[in-house]
Symmetry: C2
Subunit: 100 residues, 2 copies
């Protein structure tokens, strides 16, 4: 079952091109995570928050990723990220044109 | 600039097919929101949470939607939804295969 993971956390930057540069190796690594369909990366320098939205092929792969990713965020100083895991509602998502 | 909106909130159901039925008209309406690229719908009956992840074409259209959607959620009993708005980091998102 397609599984949606949402991280949303306070973040001190970097932002924009500097954020891209700082995370490009990490993104290439994340692209190889077992079961990852895709990840969106969000950033907001005004509210000083950042996010990751992921689709995984199974809840098990999503859970394994969350367990792996939390200490990695902690190493960036993100110690208490908001993180929720959901089943994707496919019919409603398709009605609203999500590419799933 | 492509804008990511993440809602994540406590929810009492319905779930699954009943959730789909309850929200099918709403989803058809949301599909016509100005500037909406797509929306993902998440649900988790174990944690009793639900979510919406949206991409909009501009921050202005995203903001207008958030202002419209909050009272609609309140009418469903969701009075204090988590809601964050982000700029989408396109290079990192493309590295992790997001369809953007």
């Amino acid at each position: 079952m397609t599984t949606l993971v949402q991280f949303d956390f306070a973040f001190d930057g970097p932002w924009g091109e500097a954020f891209t540069s700082a995370c490009s190796d990490l993104a290439a690594d994340i692209a190889n995570e077992p079961g990852l369909i895709w990840k969106l990366w969000g950033e907001n320098p005004d509210t000083r928050r950042a996010s990751g939205v992921y689709l995984f092929d199974t809840p098990e792969n999503a859970e394994a990723y969350v367990i792996k990713h939390r200490p990695r965020l902690a190493a960036f100083g993100v110690t208490d990220p908001g993180c929720s895991v959901f089943s994707l509602n496919l019919p409603l998502s398709r009605t609203t044109r999500a590419p799933v």
